[in-house]
């Protein structure tokens, strides 16, 4: 016990909140550092984003040219081009696809190491994912945006608060995307192999988040249902709609608020699923 006492003596005037923030920050920094190690992958990823940006942009501009009035889904040509190029940049920030780390760790039993730490797994994975997103924002967001600016006329926001609101919306999109990926990966606690759910997620997330085409092209009733009942549009379409000012100021803010609600619900579900999993958990392997 004397060792514990020693710890209390050496610690500075303790502030649990500040310590929690420091721990969260350190975990986020570790996420950033882990992704910063793979520079070639960053470059290759950006290149792919740019190539697909051209494809998507020309397809949507062709659609705009063919539609009477030239405003499919209520977007004009500059808004559509911005939608595509900023969307290409955001794609790896929100990491819509390709995160199987938790599922892999559950399958191999390495998740034991996460459970043996004094930080709840949802918190530590969220922190690391925010760090990853920060790295994505610094390295992957810029290149498609720059290419878009060079080759297409892009939309410049008119309202002063659009850019800060966009920033908030992106953070919420990252959190919601993390929570969805966490839940999909967490199925491995029960299934041992989450490849099926992950595949389903990859197929549906792109369509339902508005990556392949803006969801506004769908019938109104479907768009509204998707937006309210599922978190998917909040993963990509909401930040983009906020940036290109697709809607009036009230709806623009309301969409971000809706994202916040979805985030809160999703994180609560993640925590509940994790608790549930820990109760029945069988760590694989000897």
């Amino acid at each position: 016990m004397d060792r514990l006492d020693a710890r209390v003596l050496t610690i500075s005037p303790s502030s649990p909140f500040r310590e929690s923030v420091t721990t969260f920050g350190a975990l986020a920094w570790s996420g950033f550092r882990r992704y910063a190690t793979y520079r070639q992958a960053t470059i290759a990823g950006s290149f792919t984003n740019v190539v697909f940006g051209f494809l998507r942009c020309y397809v949507l501009l062709a659609v705009a040219a063919a539609v009477a009035g030239g405003r499919p889904g209520g977007y004009d040509a500059t808004q559509l081009a911005t939608y595509v190029w900023v969307g290409q940049g955001l794609l790896s920030v929100v990491a819509l696809w390709g995160w199987t780390e938790l599922a892999d760790r559950i399958r191999t039993g390495d998740v034991a190491a996460d459970l043996l730490r004094p930080v709840p797994p949802v918190t530590s994975y969220l922190a690391a994912d925010l760090g990853r997103a920060g790295h994505g924002m610094l390295t992957r967001f810029g290149p498609p945006l720059v290419v878009g600016l060079i080759f297409f006329p892009l939309y410049v926001p008119a309202r002063w608060y659009t850019v800060p609101l966009f920033a908030v919306s992106v953070v919420l999109a990252v959190v919601a995307s993390f929570a969805c990926r966490f839940l999909v990966n967490a199925t491995a606690y029960w299934l041992h192999d989450a490849r099926g759910p992950i595949m389903l997620w990859m197929l549906s997330a792109g369509v339902l988040a508005g990556l392949y085409f803006p969801l506004r092209l769908l019938p109104d009733w479907l768009t509204v249902t998707l937006w309210v009942a599922t978190p998917f549009p909040g993963l990509l379409q909401t930040p983009l709609d906020v940036l290109v000012e697709r809607d009036g100021p009230a709806l623009q803010v309301a969409l971000v608020a809706l994202q916040a609600v979805h985030c809160a619900v999703l994180l609560a579900v993640c925590a509940a699923v994790q608790r549930r999993a820990e109760r029945k958990l069988v760590v694989q392997g000897g």
């Binding site: 710890r7 034991a112 730490r117």
Partner: protein, 322 residues
Amino acid sequence: MSMIEMRGLRKDFTVRVKAGRLRREKRIVPAVDGVDLTVDGGEMIGYIGPNGAGKSTTLKMLTGILSPSAGTVSVCGLTPVPQRTRLALQIGVVFGQRSQLWWDLPLRESFALLRHIYRVPPAEHAARLTRCRSLLDLDGFLDTPVRQLSLGQRMRGELTAALLHGPRVLFLDEPTIGLDVVSKQAVRSFLAELGARGDVTLVLTTHDLADIERLCRRLVVIDHGRVVHDGTIDALHDRYGSRRRLVVDLESPLPDGFTLPGASVTAVEADRHRVSFALDTVSAGAAVAALMASAPVRDLSLVEPDIEDVVARLYTSVSGGP
């Protein structure tokens, strides 16, 4: 003060076995079947048993990542599963077959991150890290990403990672598995030094009995989920009749019907020129004198009982038993 207490600890796994073309039958398999064990603070115990005996399952229940089916368990006065996060601050765990380090990060950054996760004051962290660096010789690879480390280097990193927050109990699950002789020695002498200070309780599971001989006075043997031996290594030798052996090289083949009073012949090799006697009741001196008097001896050696043999006999006797 007892650091670890287990009372009637059980873990049953449900497995489904094929029982017909489509039918599956549920079968309950007890992995840990009523273990009672008390470990005092500062003790170093070896927890051994054949594959599938329930060692890792026990360790998982002790560290809070697996809920027991029945019985009670307490570590550092805490109940592992419900108080897992609090317990995590008090224990350190090294799994030889998995890693707690960050694959993409250098050791130095992993250690810094662990300081924040466990909220260790910087001075304490620095002092512990300095000690581990010198004892485990970490300086050569502190800046190498973990994925590029050799197994021996990684294991030294794992040990450091498990100790940086000053745990009161250290669980080691096969920490020397796959290591070369030099790395094994390094890990063992580090653990021996740790144990000598007496402020850490150490639970070691291993298949390498040299680890146990070197480090643990107390040995707990588990088989089929039950404790079959709990005591010192000497008690194990006594209980399973380990005897010293006298190995003799003779000038001429051993005559038929040769006997040595108080000893029994355990092996005859090399055209009856080499004979091993187990010294049942006779002392080594008396046996050598009796042998010299009755047979032409070229060379002889005395072999101490080997823990590997005892444990092998123990495993087979328990497994073969009812």
